[in-house]
Each structure stands twice: as structure tokens, then as C-alpha cells.
Symmetry: C2
Subunit: 204 residues, 2 copies
């Protein structure tokens, strides 16, 4: 379990997990590596190799036991280790993410949202309150927040990041199209939508 | 220019492009590979290697010429080759994407949105009309649509994908947490948010 798992493998395992969730919803008990491979249009042997990295015992002649394989992935990827997050920016994207109930299954607990728009402050999205951004430093400390999910308009991205860094936030999940300048000990994950789009459509 | 560029390089080039856009906004004329590397916390030599893949001539003693480097990236990645898309699902996420004006800079032209909710049909988001999903096959054909951006709730993901495939859509940009079953000649890009989140937070 202490094996270092590469980012590519983590990414594939979460896709397997999506498939397994759908199988459980459909009351299907077993799944083969071939079925997973076909859905993702990848190689069968790749799927088996990835699954071999898990401490998964639920294998039998007809395939993997769906529930056990799902549990193995969750254990390996630390779904149970809950991480607390604030959403910064209560616009369409921030609201969409706050409404995404699926997140809690993966250990992401969105506590509340922040904005500077008085028309939004005090309202709730999916039961989560929108606070004045000024209250963030105090509330981050009180709640032991690990992650800020940044969904503000592009022109506010860097000043907001500076504000988050000053509030001692160490992980920024960046949904803005700005590359943020942050200190060495702050981690940024760029949700680079346009990069993904260009990869996807490169051959059209 | 016909060199096959890897997905990792495409991803990094789009991040360089974000940085260059911000430099232009800030009226900065030159940029060094070191400045780019520091912002992205990657290696200087990596940045130079990526830039060497471009037909970029705007290099001088003080660094790269921002405008020329930006234009080189756009040329190499085909930003000018406009691709037309429909957004399927006019909820928060669909609306957020429709509002993302940045997309057009990258050659993504979102024509309209689709939903089955009568309260939404006929309204507009950022000047783009929301149509009844039933009209999609006809409108896709009339407009020569390349891409469907799928933002429907999880339980509608697969039936909607089947509907898109029947309407001859060949590229699905999938924002739902479902792995879609599609025919061989249909391409799906999974915007695997939870996979990204788990990669990002694996060490928290």
C-alpha cells in the first residue's frame, strides 16, 4: 500500500471506480478487466496491471467482485481521508462544484463558498453558506481547511491567490485560466480545461 | 509543424500560453524560460525543450518576445482551426462553460445549449440560446457540429451519450462522472475531476 502510485494510474483507477459505481447502481456483481478496458478503449493488460497494484482479493473465475474492487480502489487512493475545502467564487462554476454531491464519495468535503458580491453573501448553495471573502482567514483557521477551489474571474485570480496564501492555504485547485505565482510551499493544481480541449481535439 | 506533439507537451504549451496572455495584459514585452519555469515549478530546460518544438523565431538576448511566442504556440496547436460545439445540459456547469469567453481564443466556438427542462428552453446564456434537446440532431447537422460538451446529471449521462451518437456526434467532452459506452469511431475525453483531485491531494 506504500508503493508510490503514478498520476496516470491514479487517474485510471478513478475511472475504474466510476464504472464500478455504475455497475453497483445496475446491480451487477462481477466485472472483467476486458469490460473495463473496452469502456475506456485501453488495453486489457493495462487494466490487470493497475488492479494488481491494489490489495484486491475479490477475484474469481467470472471476474472481479465489483464491490470488493471498488473498496480496494477507495482504500488505496485514500477516499476515506476526508479533505476540507472552501470554494472561492460563488458564480456558475463555483455553484456547479458546490452542487456536485459526488465529491464527498471521494473524500472532498466542501464546507462553504466565498464571494465579494453582496447579492450572493448569506445565501446558500446545496446547503453550503456563501460568506464574505473577508471572513476567509478566520474561517479557514477555525475549520482547518486544506484546500481552496479557485473559480473567480480571470482578472481576480492572482490577487485572490495572494490573499489565500496570506491566509495560510497550502493547496489551491485552480479553475481559472491564469498560471498563479505562489510561494514554494503552496501547491497549485491547474484544471487546465483548454489544454485538455486542445489535446482532445488536436486531430479534428 | 507536422511533428506529432505529445499530450503532456500540448498541456504545458497551453499553460505557457496562459502566462503569455497575462504578460500581454500587463504590457510586458519579454519573457525568459526561467520565468515560465518558476511559475509552473518545472525545470527550465523542459521549457526550452518544449519551445524548441515550435517554429518560434522571436528569441533575443533578453528572452523570448512575448507576442511572437504566443503566436507560435497558437499556430502549432491550431487555435485558429475553429471547432464548433454544443453544450448538453444548461445547468450550473453548462452555464459556466457557456460563459467562459476564453474558449473562443482557443478555437472553441460554442454555438448553443440544449436541455429538456421547459423552464430553460428558449432562454439564453451569454448570448447562446438554449434549445430543446429534441432539436439537437437537426441543428447538429445544419451547423456542422464537431463536439458535444456533456454536462447532464450522472443518471442521464449514458442515455444522452447514446442520443448524441445516434445524432452522428463524433467527439464527446464528458464532464459527467460516468464512463460512457460509445462505438469505436466516437471519441470521448473524460474531464475526470475526481481523478485530478485525488492526484493533487494524494500526499495531504
Amino acid at each position: 500500500m506504500d508503493k508510490k502510485i503514478s498520476e496516470k494510474v491514479i487517474n485510471r483507477l478513478t475511472l475504474y471506480h466510476c464504472i464500478l459505481s455504475d455497475y453497483i447502481t445496475a446491480n451487477i456483481e462481477f466485472i472483467s478487466s476486458k469490460q473495463i478496458a473496452q469502456l475506456l478503449k485501453i488495453d486489457d493488460s493495462q487494466v490487470r496491471k493497475d488492479i494488481n497494484l491494489l490489495n484486491n482479493s475479490g477475484k474469481c473465475r467470472v471476474g472481479y467482485i465489483v464491490k470488493e474492487l471498488k473498496a480496494s480502489i477507495e482504500k488505496t487512493l485514500g477516499f476515506k481521508k476526508t479533505k476540507k475545502a472552501f470554494i472561492i467564487g460563488a458564480g456558475n462554476l463555483g455553484s456547479a462544484l458546490a452542487n456536485y454531491d459526488n465529491f464527498t464519495d471521494y473524500g472532498l468535503n466542501i464546507i462553504s463558498l466565498f464571494d465579494n458580491d453582496k447579492a450572493k453573501i448569506g445565501k446558500t448553495v446545496n446547503g453550503k453558506k456563501i460568506f464574505n471573502i473577508k471572513e476567509l482567514p478566520t474561517l479557514a483557521k477555525e475549520n482547518g481547511i486544506d484546500i481552496a477551489i479557485l473559480t473567480v474571474p480571470r482578472q481576480y485570480a492572482q490577487p485572490t491567490a495572494d490573499f489565500l496564501v496570506a491566509a495560510n492555504i497550502k493547496y489551491i485547485w485552480n479553475f481559472t485560466p491564469t498560471v498563479l505565482a505562489v510561494p514554494e510551499d503552496t501547491q497549485v493544481w491547474n484544471e487546465n480545461l483548454m489544454g485538455n480541449f486542445l489535446q482532445f481535439t488536436y486531430n479534428i
